[in-house]
């Protein structure tokens, strides 16, 4: 369903008539959407079909959960929040189109951008043209918020970002390398921009903290490759002490399962940026213990009752544990609700952006007390960037080791200077 008030239901006659009316709007009738709406409409362009549909379905479930809780608590000055989602099919031009439709045709006053990176950049440009409040909740590409040339006054990122993960990952890897004498490293990451950038940043910081680390080889399997035998064989031949991988989703599941056949992890220490997502962990039939992974989501970390309650409530709606995207969307909804409260329900993009700048909220996922929407570059800090180790039983990752945000911010500033962003 494209329109969800909170709970999804089968299309009714009213919805079908509504569809016909929307058709009439596109084919000519004057724009009336939202004129009499009591609800505040929040649009969500996202990927609901294809290979990464879980990105969109879990994002949608998280927004449904958050809006239900906000509405049950009285809404915003008596107004409820209504979610309208739309499938972009993973195409950036389609993401731009549906975002414009959500704002122009469906009367959405706020956008939660549930697009992967290239789609997020497309949505970002739409927001430059149509300046409603927009929260990017899935893109991890650092430049989206770090590059001042791309700055859009009403656009914010409520998602982890690559540079934060790189600092945390590098610190964790260096710590392990020093403790266990891991000097010979190899990488196995998908052959596209994210895979290469992510791997380069991880190695840069790992070597900065532990100069003895040496990259002995790198393999780049194709994105969405079904067979990793060639890469695994190369790793076995090279005999590194540790392997870092930026593989994610189904690719990572296939790589781990195929590596199990070769007992790869008996002799090699594995570091993965994407393994910590619960759907990935549960999809692996025989999850080897002791693999090192970045936090994506875990119901036991941070160990707070609110976090476990979120996981339970989300699982009731979605039928599975929250994903990384789910907590980010949920957090984005909390930011939106708080911003609306501070503006007394005003939905103008500039007013909401003003309220959101520098806002700190006590979220279930905060490492400390709060997660902050940083004023200077419209991005969150204070979220979990810990690394842990896999165990065979749910929730599959434990022994989380965090990195202080003070250190992350300091190194992020240096990185920004090196890129000409600061």
């Amino acid at each position: 369903m494209g329109t969800n008030t909170v709970s999804s239901r089968a299309p009714s006659r009213r919805q079908v008539l509504g569809g016909l009316a929307a058709g009439a709007a596109v084919t000519g009738f004057p724009h009336v959407a939202g004129a009499q709406a009591k609800a505040i409409r929040v649009g969500m362009p996202t990927i609901l079909s294809g290979r990464v549909a879980i990105l969109g379905t879990s994002s949608r479930a998280a927004a449904q959960l958050a809006f239900r809780q906000i509405n049950e608590a009285g809404g915003i000055n008596g107004r409820t929040l209504e979610l309208i989602d739309r499938d972009s099919k993973g195409r950036p031009d389609e993401a731009a189109k549906v975002t414009r439709d959500l704002i122009n045709n469906d009367g959405c006053e706020i956008i939660i951008d549930g697009e992967a990176s290239s789609g997020a950049f497309a949505v970002h440009e739409v927001i430059r043209d149509l300046p409603v409040l927009c929260l990017h909740t899935c893109s991890e590409t650092s430049s989206l918020s770090a590059d001042p040339k791309l700055h859009v006054k009403t656009a914010f990122r409520c998602a982890r970002q690559g540079i934060h993960d790189a600092v945390a990952g590098g610190t964790y890897a260096a710590r392990n390398a020093k403790a266990k004498g891991l000097k010979r490293w190899m990488t196995c990451s998908p052959d596209y921009a994210y895979g290469r950038d992510n791997t380069a940043e991880f190695l840069e910081f790992a070597k900065m903290f532990e100069p003895s680390i040496e990259t002995v080889d790198q393999v780049w399997p194709k994105l969405f490759a079904p067979d990793y035998t060639e890469s695994i064989t190369k790793i076995l031949q090279t005999k590194p002490q540790a392997v870092y991988s930026a593989l994610w989703g189904g690719d990572l599941v296939a790589f781990i399962e195929q590596s199990n056949l070769y007992r790869l992890f008996n002799s090699i220490t594995m570091f993965s940026g994407g393994l910590g997502d619960p759907p990935v962990l549960t999809a692996i039939k025989q999850l080897p213990p002791g693999l090192n992974t970045a936090y994506r989501y875990n119901r036991n970390y941070p160990a707070k009752p609110a976090n476990a309650a979120f996981a339970d409530a989300f699982a009731k709606i979605a039928g599975h544990e929250p994903t990384n995207w789910a907590w980010q969307v949920y957090l984005g909804c909390l930011f939106i609700a708080e911003a609306l409260k501070r503006t007394n329900g005003r939905t103008e993009g500039t007013a909401l952006a003003g309220a959101l700048k520098g806002m700190s909220i006590a979220a279930p996922f905060a490492v400390g007390d709060t997660i902050t929407m940083r004023d200077s570059d419209h991005t969150i800090i204070g979220y979990p960037v810990a690394w842990g180790r896999t165990v065979p039983k749910a929730p599959f990752v434990e022994d989380f080791s965090d990195v202080g945000w003070g250190k992350i911010v300091e190194l992020e500033t240096q990185w920004k200077k090196s890129k000409g962003y600061a």
């Binding site: 329109t3 929307a22 099919k89 122009n104 045709n105």
Partner: protein, 350 residues
């Protein structure tokens, strides 16, 4: 027969184009929903892609699987030039179209020497090559993230393209001009030579036609027209993305042609409108849009066995010929004769 400098056919086409442009410009004034403007700009972009592909598929009999490569080349060339901040929009458009034509000249010189499925596959191979270049040349194209930072829209002759209504008007004018240009090519002696090549290349060759040069000519022209579609989309979404050059975009253009039909000149536009409308509404109500669109295409392919515009045209022709004492009129210039039965002489228009 000519009247003055312009033939009656050209005069009629120009009059039709002016009327169409007037209608397109009036439509958003009468119905000011921004969504209508947005929808029509997408229609212009993908309409030009489908129409230009039909110059190869319908007019020349060259089934290209890689036409979106030129759509993307136009979009990227235009976007990159505009991001330099040193060129005006018209200059960037001309350079993008010219650049795409040059790329198509090089690729076409290799492709048009092949026939049938070999031609189709080599065009697909070149498309994937261009897609790979876009994805891997990160410093120039932004890689798989696309061209970031937006595409500036400086004013042209006092017109501010940041105003959505002005942008729409400019896109509509460019669209109509391109359709008019394609129409003239299609109705020119060159266009009729292409029909002869489609129906009987050996005969065309025997008559002294340089088949390879003719095919190359239309290949380059079709690529240039596709690039205009790409730059309209780039201008509108303020970016360019590798998906523009992916094979699925070429596949969509082929769907548009199948839905609309290849016989009527404007058939691909009917297909574009149909596919874009279906896509728009089906996406609102279900994420299983592939199933719905697949079913519609299946019904059209199996049920009608030709494009919608072709069916309507044949039905109208049928009514005209079955009317008693009414001689069948000459074939209108907007359409080619209905396909002949299997086994009949293929060279129907020479």
């Amino acid at each position: 027969m000519r009247s003055g400098l312009l033939s009656p056919g050209l005069l009629r086409d120009v009059a039709f184009a002016i009327a169409a442009l007037a209608l397109l410009l009036v439509l958003p004034m009468a119905f000011p929903a921004p969504a209508l403007r947005d929808f029509l700009i997408y229609f212009f972009a993908y309409g030009l892609l489908a129409m230009s592909l039909n110059l190869l598929v319908g007019l020349t009999g060259l089934v290209s699987f890689g036409h979106a490569a030129y759509f993307a080349t136009g979009a990227y060339a235009f976007g990159l030039l505009m991001q330099t901040g040193r060129v005006s929009i018209p200059l960037a458009m001309l350079a993008a179209v010219g650049g795409t034509a040059l790329v198509a000249l090089v690729i076409g010189a290799i492709c048009v020497r092949l026939k049938e499925i070999y031609f189709s596959f080599i065009t697909l191979a070149f498309q994937m090559f261009i897609h790979s270049v876009i994805v891997t040349w990160v410093s120039l194209t932004g890689g798989d993230q696309g061209l970031r930072g937006g595409i500036p829209r400086p004013p042209i002759l006092g017109l501010d393209l940041n105003d959505a209504r002005v942008l729409y008007g400019a896109c509509a004018a460019v669209f109509v001009l391109c359709i008019l240009a394609m129409r003239q090519v299609s109705q020119s002696p060159f266009g009729y030579t292409l029909r002869m090549i489609r129906d009987n290349p050996a005969r065309a060759n025997f008559l002294g036609v340089d088949v390879t040069a003719m095919k190359l000519g239309i290949f380059v022209f079709a690529a240039a027209m596709a690039s205009v579609g790409g730059l309209i989309l780039a201008l509108f979404v303020s970016g360019a993305y590798p998906e523009f050059a992916f094979w699925t975009t070429s596949g969509e253009a082929i769907f548009m042609i199948m839905l609309g039909g290849t016989t009527i000149f404007l058939g691909p536009l009917v297909g574009t409108l149909l596919l874009q409308t279906l896509n728009h509404f089906v996406t609102i109500y279900t994420e299983h849009h592939g199933l719905v669109l697949g079913t519609v295409i299946l019904v059209i392919v199996l049920g009608l066995r030709r494009g919608l515009a072709d069916v309507v045209y044949d039905w109208l022709q049928g009514r005209r010929t079955t009317r008693p004492n009414t001689p069948a009129g000459p074939t209108p210039e907007g359409a080619e004769p209905a396909p002949l039965p299997d086994g009949a002489l293929k060279s129907r228009i020479v």
